[in-house]
């Protein structure tokens, strides 16, 4: 499903070069949910962005469904993101000018695989049925994040990447969101890699990777 | 700019067309709209006595008139050329001649030089009364702009020679001397040329015995040339029958010294009116019986969007004439305001010779 081999990334600033990742390697199996934890600035988000193709690695490889995706041009990486990956961010990343229904469906539409039955099931499971005509700004934080999860899953991705999806949510809501995530992942058979700094949430997933000093421990 | 609607030479020509001044000898065409009355103009009647030099000049009481010269020329290498010089006069209204710009005469000139490969032509227009164009009987001069035909004194009134003939246009020009020993020839019956069974006719005389010498210029190349030339003088007021749609006219210089003029007026009903004169080497002009003349198209050329019969079989049974006529240049089309085909021809058969062919009234191809 996902295989990361010897991935490295460094950032250059005026004063120094910061090695964020030094040869990271791991794998996520289909249906498996993995938590990625670490201190602030340990490179969790960077790793996730590299896997999503939002950023380019200095070295190493990322394999998604048996295909190496490192070094692909932007258009190919975009196509991969669109069809095989689902991304969830801390800031929800919804389109403010689209209604809940349109937000939920639009990545699937972009991917050309809009499945009304699956969308219906998602909106029911995510508790969005009554909110479909609203706009993101009219939703609570938890509702917005549930919508973001729905949008990411609507495309039936092979891999779901979540970057602190509960960072803006209170504890109870966060628990509920992670539960939902885990259930939906298990049900759709995709892999989940979730960045979190909460050990409590990390414990709710199948496995946990800890990033520290640029490597996994 | 819409050329058809512009007040221009083209528009003028359109006006001429309406007035009946059509271009070429083909003024004698029904489609020129002249099938109607000739009220106020002088009438053409048989038995006129021609007087020279007076009849070299214009006859403004008649509606239309022309001075028409064609020449079949060769250069020192035997290369063939044709030359055309034409001055038409048309009166817009009958009555006494008015002075200056009020004068009712309109003049049109056509000139062309033809070779096997090239056909260059030009046209020009003028109003009478101010001197831009006109004809003086004696000393003879006919002119429009810089094109002129004028006596080279001393002029023989009987032979209408010698004359100097000049014209130039884009890509061509010529300056020829016309000499003739024999007297003028009256066409038809003593100069009364019938154009239909119903009495339409013109006054018509010719000088078929001209020898032209001089120079022609074609696309910048000037060559010395000589050869036989033919002058036609014709005037009338109503030369057409209403149902006549066009005509095919030819003049022949036969090797034996005989000269032949034939024409066929096409009628709307598909029938034809034939006429012609045989001018023997003795200078006697005899009108040919209509039923003695046969003119049959053999081959056609698509030119200027029209299908024109440029190859003919011509026969005059009474004279033992049976020849095939072929054009020097089948594309000798005069794309003037009033368009027609006019060019030199060569004939072979019972007789050999050269001549000129004119065809009008052929509309769209097919």
């Amino acid at each position: 499903m996902l295989k990361v081999v010897n991935l490295s990334k460094s950032y250059r600033s005026a004063q120094e070069t910061v090695h964020v990742l030094r040869g990271v390697g791991f794998a996520v199996a289909p249906g498996e949910s993995v938590a990625l934890t670490g201190e602030s600035g340990s490179g969790k988000s960077t790793l996730l962005h590299l896997i999503a193709g939002l950023d380019e690695a200095d070295g190493g490889e990322v394999w998604v469904e048996g295909a190496c995706v490192t070094g692909l041009p932007d258009a190919r990486r975009a196509a991969l993101r669109c069809t095989r990956l689902g991304l969830i961010f801390q800031q929800f990343n919804l389109v403010p000018s689209l209604s809940v229904a349109d937000n939920l469906a639009f990545q699937a539409r972009l991917a050309g695989r809009s499945d009304p039955a699956w969308l219906g099931e998602l909106s029911a499971r995510l508790g969005l049925d009554a909110l479909m005509k609203r706009y993101p700004e009219q939703l609570s934080g938890g509702q917005q994040q549930r919508l973001a999860i729905g949008r990411a899953l609507a495309v039936k991705p092979a891999l779901l990447l979540a970057d602190e999806p509960t960072g803006n949510l209170d504890e109870a809501t966060a628990d509920e969101v992670v539960h939902l995530l885990r259930d939906l992942v298990a049900r759709s058979g995709c892999g989940l890699l979730m960045v979190t700094h909460s050990t409590r949430l990390a414990a709710m997933l199948d496995r946990r990777l800890h990033l520290s000093g640029g490597g996994l421990t | 700019m819409n050329a058809d609607r512009a007040l221009s030479r083209r528009g003028f020509a359109a006006g001429l067309l309406w007035l009946g001044l059509g271009g070429a000898r083909a003024l004698a065409q029904g489609f020129a709209g002249l099938g109607g009355e000739a009220a106020g103009f002088a009438a053409v009647t048989p038995g006129r006595k021609f007087m020279f030099p007076d009849d070299f000049g214009a006859h403004p009481d008649f509606r239309i008139e022309w001075w028409y010269v064609t020449a079949n020329l060769r250069d020192a290498d035997g290369v063939a050329y044709g030359v055309q010089w034409t001055l038409f006069r048309q009166a817009m209204a009958p009555g006494p001649q008015r002075e200056g710009w009020d004068n009712q005469q309109v003049w049109m000139g056509h000139a062309a030089v033809t070779s096997a490969a090239t056909h260059r032509f030009a046209e020009t227009f003028a109003r009478g009364g101010v001197g831009q164009a006109g004809v003086i009987a004696a000393p003879f001069e006919a002119w429009i702009d810089a094109w002129r035909m004028a006596a080279l004194p001393p002029l023989s009134n009987a032979a209408f020679a010698p004359l100097r003939l000049q014209a130039a246009g884009e890509g061509f020009g010529y300056d020829l001397r016309l000499d003739a020993e024999r007297p003028l020839v009256l066409q038809g019956e003593g100069g009364y040329s019938r154009k239909s069974e119903r009495g339409q006719a013109s006054y018509y005389y010719s000088q078929p015995y001209f020898t032209a010498t001089g120079h022609i210029t074609l696309d910048g190349r000037t060559v010395a040339v000589s050869g036989p030339a033919w002058l036609d003088r014709e005037w009338s007021s109503q030369p057409l029958a209403a149902d006549q749609t066009g005509w095919d006219w030819l003049s022949l210089h036969l090797d034996g010294g005989d000269k032949v003029m034939l024409f066929r007026l096409r009628q709307a009903d598909g029938g034809h009116y034939f006429a012609g004169n045989w001018i023997g080497s003795d200078g006697r002009s005899v009108a040919l019986a209509s039923n003695a003349i046969a003119m049959t198209p053999l081959g056609f050329t698509e030119v200027a969007g029209r299908r024109v019969p440029t190859q003919w079989r011509v026969a005059v049974a009474s004279r033992g004439l049976a020849v095939d006529a072929a054009p020097l240049n089948p594309r000798s089309f005069m794309a003037t305001s009033f368009p027609y085909w006019e060019g030199p021809i060569v004939v072979h058969g019972s007789h050999d010779g050269v001549g000129y062919l004119e065809m009008t009234g052929y509309r769209d191809a097919g």
């Binding site: 999503a52 950023d55 975009a78 919804l94 | 528009g11 710009w101 227009f125 001197g131 810089a146």
Partner: protein, 818 residues
């Protein structure tokens, strides 16, 4: 493809949620396109009619032969040239009066007329005979027939003796022109056998092959001119219009720029989300451009329709101006070519792309991952100000350079453009300086914040303020010029129209009768004979006016400079005054010598103002004029009459000689007519001025709307620490008004500079005269007030929104810090 459509749908959803923004964007596009294309439509219309007039029988489009020494020459020259093979065609032209209107009568010879010169009239095949054969036809544009109140077939009488052939409407003909056969023209104009010129048709021959003398006439070859006389004369007028159109276009683009900038800012997160969801950068860029172009197309189309309306509304004034200033006649209805529509749409799209350029580039470079916003706005702003200042300095240097080295109308406008741009670029620097100065003097926390925040607001407002500055400066400039002209013109009219009654007899015979009649009366103080003829100097028409030897002229003639004995020399016959225009064109000044015609040379002893006359003019003694040009009609004279006898003399004259309003007028009427023409001349300028100011107001409004959203984070803390929304709104209003006021103050000196440029550079090049520069303080105050009103109106709505804002919105700022 489907993916692109989905992306487009997502992008467009933004406008559905923000219709006002879309409206703003469209208003900008429409304003830009409308004014520009409206002006273009007017110019095009005018040029079309000049071309029509010019192509008509060889204005200047055809090579022609003229006799430089005489107005007409013998038609024998025509025949001689034809017989020498030259494709020439004769034209006789003159003026006739029909129903009190002076019209151009052109006699042509249709049979020889070169086809390329006959753009105007269309004589169908049926008409040729009618045109040349008696009685002939008089072709005239339908407008002309309408003006004359005549219908087709009428035979207008042009004086006691002559009558024109029956009128026939001819749509392609220029207005004010009558076309007849040359024979008719010779008879009607009393010039048998004469022609004015010979048109030369297409020929491979050149002027060099022309014989020195043709039929005893020395003809001069006038080469065809790509530009017509009218086009040249009216160039300045059209350049003026174009400059205004361009200014409006740019101001409109300011609006587009700010609307697109705002939309970009608000959609930044959407764009990121789209990228994260798998839309490639290229697809996104393409779709954004498609979206922009589509909107530009819509705006452009609506703008074109508005442009058409504007043009149609302004056309009567433009037509009146052109007629009054140059004698150019425009048809009363607009006819637009397809090119106009295409050009307008292209301008709209290109303008939108240019205005969106910065946003598009920023979007293309948009990092996929949100970077922390650098907090160093202050440093960035300083850099920005420095760059603006440097650019402004460069533009200013360019302006000065062009002013010194340029010597054309275009250079004049280049100076203006560079000057305005320099000022616009320098505006933020000046405002920043002013605000900094104010901040230094501020006491207390709130005032300190007030000034500091105003400075921070500058970059967002600067475009709109620049638009305001430009619009206002141009208003001041044009207003000052027009007023200067108005005052000068009125004074000049007083000088030139010194006689009390003006009489123009129908012909010399009547003139003699009238003079005899006048001599017998006792209530006439003086009869001042005048005469006028026209010659060509350097290919251009020049009027010669004969002036009587009388104190009336000596006292009033608007001389700019002259020798002390100027008037005495003038009446001796060997000296002349020249008009300012002619003096500039021929580089003539007092002391120079001028050859008027073959045997007549004069000393220039004075230069006088001759405003509004497109032709150069020479004033000589009336006796000398009749001596050298004996054919000049002696039909005009002025009368000095005591005011109490004025009405009586007028009535008696009218009664005795049946003179109509064109032949007999008193000073007051002539003055009123002149001023009326003058006023209409600048009506267009004034209208465009108003439009421009309006557009600047809209630009300000949109900028403020744009700012009001993004400024909430700055205002929320103040609200939190206890300022009421109403108070905040008042502060916001005050801030905008302060910067607008400073801008308007800066616009005043700039406007005066613009006025100086217009008067000292542009007018001189365009019209050939220079006005005294005058400043009108009341007018400046009025414009200042209008500008402040526009600013106030533009500010009210955003401020009202702020005052009515729900507290929750302000709270969310804290909850949702961007």
């Amino acid at each position: 493809m489907r993916r692109a459509l989905w992306v487009l749908a997502v992008l467009l959803s933004h406008w559905r949620r923000h219709p006002l923004q879309l409206a703003t964007l469209l208003v900008g596009l429409i304003a830009a396109t409308a004014l520009w294309s409206g002006v273009q439509a007017l110019n095009q219309q005018a040029r079309l009619s000049y071309d029509r007039a010019a192509a008509l029988f060889g204005g200047a489009r055809t090579a022609m032969l003229i006799d430089p020494a005489h107005a007409t020459f013998t038609q024998a020259a025509f025949v001689a040239l034809r017989r020498a093979g030259w494709p020439v065609s004769p034209v006789l032209e003159g003026r006739v009066e029909v129903g009190g209107r002076s019209l151009r009568l052109i006699g042509v010879e249709p049979v020889t007329l070169p086809p390329e010169t006959a753009a105007g009239p269309a004589v169908g095949r049926d008409d040729l005979h009618a045109f040349v054969a008696p009685p002939g036809r008089t072709l005239a544009a339908p407008e002309t027939l309408r003006d004359l109140g005549l219908t087709a077939g009428a035979t207008p009488r042009i004086d006691q003796s002559a009558e024109l052939p029956p009128l026939q409407p001819q749509p392609h003909l220029a207005p004010g022109v009558l076309v007849v056969d040359i024979g008719v023209a010779q008879r009607v104009l009393g010039k048998p056998g004469q022609v004015s010129r010979l048109l030369v048709g297409n020929t491979t021959r050149s002027a060099r092959e022309l014989p020195e003398s043709v039929a005893g006439t020395r003809l001069r070859w006038v080469a065809p001119d790509s530009e017509t006389d009218l086009a040249r004369l009216t160039d300045s007028f059209h350049l003026n219009l174009t400059a205004f159109g361009l200014l409006s276009f740019l101001v409109g683009l300011f609006i587009v720029n700010s609307a697109i900038g705002l939309a970009f800012e608000q959609r930044r997160s959407t764009l990121r989300t789209l990228r994260a969801c798998g839309v490639s950068a290229r697809l996104l860029n393409v779709v954004v451009v498609i979206e922009l172009v589509s909107i530009a197309l819509v705006g452009g189309l609506v703008g074109l329709v508005c442009g058409y309306v504007i043009a149609a509304a302004l056309l009567p004034d433009v037509a009146a101006s052109l007629r009054g200033l140059y004698g150019a006649r425009l048809p009363g209805t607009l006819s637009l070519r397809p090119q106009w529509w295409f050009a307008g749409i292209a301008m709209s799209v290109l303008g939108a792309l240019a205005a969106a350029g910065a946003s598009l580039i920023r979007m293309a470079r948009l990092p996929l991952l949100a970077a922390a916003q650098p907090d160093a706005w202050r440093r960035a702003q300083r850099r920005w100000l420095l760059r603006q200042g440097a650019l402004a300095a460069v533009m200013l240097i360019a302006a000065v350079g062009v002013l010194i080295f340029g010597d054309s109308l275009l250079a004049g406008f280049a100076v203006l453009a560079a000057l305005l741009l320099a000022a616009a670029l320098a505006l933020p620097v000046a405002l920043d300086g002013a605000l900094q100065l104010a901040a230094r003097g501020a006491r207390g926390a709130l005032p300190a914040w007030f000034w500091a925040d105003s400075r921070q607001q500058l970059p967002g407002l600067s475009l709109a303020l620049m638009a305001l500055l430009l619009a206002l400066a141009v208003n001041v400039g044009v207003g000052t010029m027009v007023r200067s002209f108005s005052v000068t013109f009125a004074r000049w009219l007083d000088g030139r129209l010194a006689a009390d009654i003006y009489v123009s007899a129908a012909n010399d015979t009547q003139a003699i009768e009238i003079r005899r009649w006048l001599a017998a009366r006792t209530d006439i103080d003086a009869v001042l004979p005048g005469a006028r003829t026209e010659i060509r100097i350097g290919g251009a028409p020049v009027e010669i006016t004969g002036v009587a030897d009388h104190a009336t002229y000596r006292d009033n003639w608007p001389l700019l400079r002259a020798t002390a004995d100027g008037w005495d020399r003038l009446h001796q016959g060997d000296a002349a005054f020249v008009s300012e225009q002619l003096s500039r064109r021929l580089h003539l000044d007092v002391g120079d010598r001028l050859r008027i015609s073959g045997g007549w040379s004069v000393d220039v002893v004075g230069v006088y103002a001759d405003y509004g006359n497109p032709k150069g003019q020479i004033a000589v003694g009336v006796d000398a004029l009749s001596r050298h040009f004996p054919e000049t009609p002696q039909t005009r004279f002025g009368l000095r009459v005591a005011p109490e006898h004025l009405a009586g003399v007028m009535a008696a004259l009218r009664e005795a000689f049946h003179l109509d309003a064109r032949q007999l007028a008193d000073q007051a009427t002539v003055k009123a007519e002149s001023k009326r023409i003058f006023n209409r001349t600048f009506a267009v300028t004034a209208a465009l001025n108003t439009f421009t100011l309006g557009v600047a107001g809209v630009a300000l409004l949109t900028s403020l709307l744009t700012l009001s959203g993004s400024r909430l984070p700055q205002l929320a803390p103040l609200w939190a620490i206890g300022l009421t929304r109403r108070r905040l709104a008042a502060i916001e209003l005050m801030k905008t008004m302060v910067v607008a006021f400073v801008t308007a103050l800066l616009a005043l000196p700039l406007g005066l500079l613009v006025a100086w440029c217009l008067i000292a550079v542009v007018n001189v090049k365009a019209f050939g005269w220079r006005l005294p520069f005058q400043v009108f303080p009341a007018q400046l105050l009025e414009l200042l007030g209008i500008a402040m009103l526009a600013a106030l109106l533009a500010t009210l709505w955003p401020v009202f929104k702020l005052a009515r804002m729900q507290p929750a919105t302000l709270i969310r700022i804290f909850a949702n810090e961007r």
